[in-house]
Amino acid sequence: MPDLLIELFSEEIPARMQARAADDLRRLMTEALVEAGLSYAGAAGFATPRRLALSVQGLSAASPTLREERKGPRVDAPEAAIEGFLRGAGVTRDQLEARDDKKGTFYVATITRAGRPAADIVAEALEQVIRNFPWPKSMRWGTGTLRWVRPLHSILCILTDEAGEAKVVPVEIDGIRAGNTTRGHRFMAPDEFSVTSFDDYEARLKVARVILRAEERAEIIRQEAGNLAFAAGLDLVEDAGLLEEVAGLVEWPVVLMGEIGAAFLGLPAEVLQTSMREHQKFFSLRNAATGRIERFVTVANIETPDHGATILAGNQKVLAARLSDAKFFWENDLRRVREKGLEGMAEGLRDVTFHNKLGSQADRVARIAALAREIAPMVGAKPDLAAEAARVCKADLQSAMVGEFPELQGLMGRYYAQAAGHDDGVPEACEEHYKPLGPGDAVPSAPVSVAVALADKIDTLCGFWAIDEKPTGSKDPYALRRAALGVIRLVLGNGVRFDLFDPLSNQLERNEKSAHNVKEADSARAIDKLKKDIGGATVGTVSVRAQSIRIINGRRVHGRAPDLLAFLHDRLKVHLRDEGIRHDVIDACLAMEGNDDLTLLVHRARALSDFLKTDDGENLLQGFKRANNILTQAEEKDGVEYSYGADVKFAETDEERALFAALDTAEPQIAAALTSEDFAAAMSAMAALRAPIDAFFDAVQVNVESAVIRRNRLNLLSRIRSICLQAADLARLEG
């Protein structure tokens, strides 16, 4: 069983693509080899900045010989048909065999497909894989037509047999002929050398200052950075993404620690960290006592006679230039905030378009502020404060710092709000109103933050609903599903009680007004231009039709609100499914009135879900369904609704009387529990009905001769139904 080694040596492969490419090479090659009839014991892919490599162990030396019988025409078929069959099967007439079956005598050809040596199969597969490699972006170079991520320089492709004898697989792609040689580190060991096996390859690369395995390079960086930090009495700020990237930028990691100029140590830690990570790919070292970032670690790709002194000096200089910019932004922003306040900083938002149908960021901020004021009392925040926080929550988008580092939005808002003298929840709201950003992100709990975060997300949803830009299928360019989940998690995480129809309707109205204003302004501009062109003639204005407000159950509900609420309910189902609550349980609760109060809805769903997991719950559900079925059939047959009037005096059996008694006891208990929204208590009161209901169905027949008794029993079933339906629409439950 030979081993296969492939290396594709190129100019520098982008760090972010390396891991995926190594895996693609392994997957595509092994799939192609197996497809061609080879088997193998194991395979692994590797990547460095300049090479992709693949090692396949225990590859079969050749594909097996395959025999296939092919049935042809009858022996008495026309000559042309037999000739055609011979051509198709690639055999001569004397190789045919005549065989009898039920329908006559037929020719049968036996086709033997000879096994092929592994080298031929590898050569073919490799060419296919290289020509169709799934790079995220690829390019041509020179005069060639081959595409690769960057120019491909050489191919190493050898099969090594058990005796350790290596043979080059003959492949040539666009003038690049495979061999058994490669090169080491670009600067430290640039000469060509040959290899005989994977172990030999990896060992010789190491001598030539190349560490083949990305995880080994990452581990060296992590260890040495940790050691340098420890020696300096600092903590390394772990950054897995940066570690992976940096390990993809070097073949031979040399870890160096440098100083951040004293002038910059006063910058916020996040600014230092972001600037160093984004621009320089430096790791940060933190002083555990003060929380400040005091030094950096950089990873070079070369050992130098001066032990990195020149490299470090250069890096420090570049960092100082970068941080002077950051410091300049920081100090300028602080000065602006102190002079004009955050409101002054936010002024420029008027000139920033949020969406061309919904107006500027300033328009959006005004809408959010109006809604935050309305939501505030429901989350325990002061309305004025929530509105103020909302008005300044996006001011930092106008700061020079966020202009340079967009990922610091919110965080800089907090710093600038503090600088503006806020100590009232506004700084936290500036930072936290974007949260939660994803399913794993923490949900804010400070009242002002919750009010603004909710208003921010509800406004986003209402805005795009108002202009009919809802998510479709996999397309959700404005991340509206994320916004909806954000609303759900903010509400549930803080136990917020409110009827969503109100804020949804208000905000839909506000957004429609914004859209209307934008249209008016656009058409006014168009008319001005038209007037100019045609010399002042009068032109009519364009009107925008807004969706009407309807009154549902005495409440003002915007025409688009039910659809938006349904979208939120869909996201809620997904969210609760992760919690283990079945979709039919949620449907049963969604059917109840007040389903726009998500907290209430979820309390109900959780109680019902728990209840159904108990023996009583499951049996009561069966009892309810039985009662409901009998009742529904009777009602359809009789054309009446049995809803009240069951009287114990018509009861004939003990079981019947017991059920009357149990209902009389349970009804007020359930009503009281539901009034206080204690669904668990309501359901445990319902559980007490299980035994009498079961006993009733065991002993009593409903559809009896006597019309009076029958009607009474149906009316009794109706009591069961209406009691059960008070907690949730059990008819929607499966099973």
């Binding site: 960057r150 130098t304 000096a313 250069g314």
Partner: protein, 309 residues
């Protein structure tokens, strides 16, 4: 010839060494294009010559203007007028990376002592309708060059593919010379009878142009010039290829492209004046790109553009 093992002593010595290095590699040493451009790429020796099948190798210094980067000469490394060194070789030779590293050695960067890295950076010029793949080259953490394999220019596929190298000369020179502020960098030899710093040459102009670019440039005039350049470009290209006077077929790709360059620079000035909103920005960029595309279409109809017959 200068001894490349000695560190250069001035800004101009770095330029001279690059010139002599790339001349030694067989490039035609061109001169700057005589128009205001935002980057060396705009020189027709790069944009237009990237197109078509003819081989090409050229290098030149290109004074470049980015009005929004003006800082009145006060910022240590931001300038509204600066120099780029540009190399374009088509088809890209297989050893272009090695040739490039040789140029760093030629200006005194000891490759055994420094950490030179090729870090992914895909290049795209929305105004030229051009893109390519390559890297920014880092020396000890500082970006010293852009290295790009052009894939498309003016909407046309490049075949063969040119390799483009762009050096930001001030930044590179500051690094090599150890200057902390661009204005303090020696322009000529510090021991010359009349030693001049970069500031002696450019501080005043930086100040003057910063004021002009940000506050004085007449936006009405600029807007009109933009439209005129756009119209002129179209008019030039609309002229019949057959020249009635000489009887020859003369497609005027270059004169048309001049108007495209003009429009692009005017757009940059308008941007610096802050009169272009975010939405308009895209529209302006699209208009310049449309010009660049038409000029590219015209160029491939010419002899230099590889058109036979």
């Amino acid at each position: 010839m200068t001894d490349s093992t000695l560190r250069p002593r001035s800004f101009q010595e770095i330029i001279l060494r690059l010139q002599s290095y790339w001349a030694g590699q067989g490039c035609a040493m061109l001169q700057p294009y005589d128009m205001e451009v935002g980057a060396g790429t705009f020189h027709p020796a790069t944009t237009l010559r990237s197109l078509g099948s003819r081989h090409w190798a050229a290098a030149y210094v290109q004074p470049s203007r980015r009005p929004t980067d003006g800082r009145y000469g006060e910022n240590p490394n931001r300038l509204q007028h600066y120099y780029q060194y540009q190399v374009l070789i088509k088809p890209s030779p297989p050893d272009l990376q090695a040739l490039y590293l040789g140029s760093l050695a030629a200006i005194g960067i000891d490759l055994a002592l420094h950490d030179v890295r090729f870090v992914e950076d895909d290049w795209e010029s929305p105004t030229l309708g051009a893109w390519g793949l390559g890297w920014e080259v880092w020396c000890d953490g500082m970006e010293v060059s852009q290295f790009t394999y052009f894939q498309q220019v003016g909407g046309h596929d490049c075949a063969p593919v040119p390799g483009e190298l762009t050096y930001g000369l001030e930044r590179l020179a500051m690094y090599v010379l150890g200057a902390d502020h661009v204005m303090d960098m020696p322009f000529n030899d510090p021991d010359a009878p009349i030693p001049l710093t970069y500031g002696d040459v450019f501080r005043q102009t930086e100040e003057e142009y910063s004021r002009f670019n940000f506050d004085i440039a007449d936006t009405g005039v600029l807007l009109r010039h933009f439209e005129e350049a756009e119209a002129e470009c179209a008019a030039i290209l609309a002229a019949p290829a057959q020249d009635p006077k000489t009887g020859k077929r003369i497609v005027m790709a270059h004169p048309a492209y001049d108007q495209c360059i003009k429009a692009s620079h005017i757009f940059n000035l308008l941007d610096a004046r802050g009169v272009i909103s975010v939405t308009e920005r895209q529209a302006y960029i699209g208009r310049v790109r449309a010009l660049a595309k038409q000029c590219a279409d015209a160029f491939v109809q010419t002899d230099a553009g590889g058109c036979v017959g």
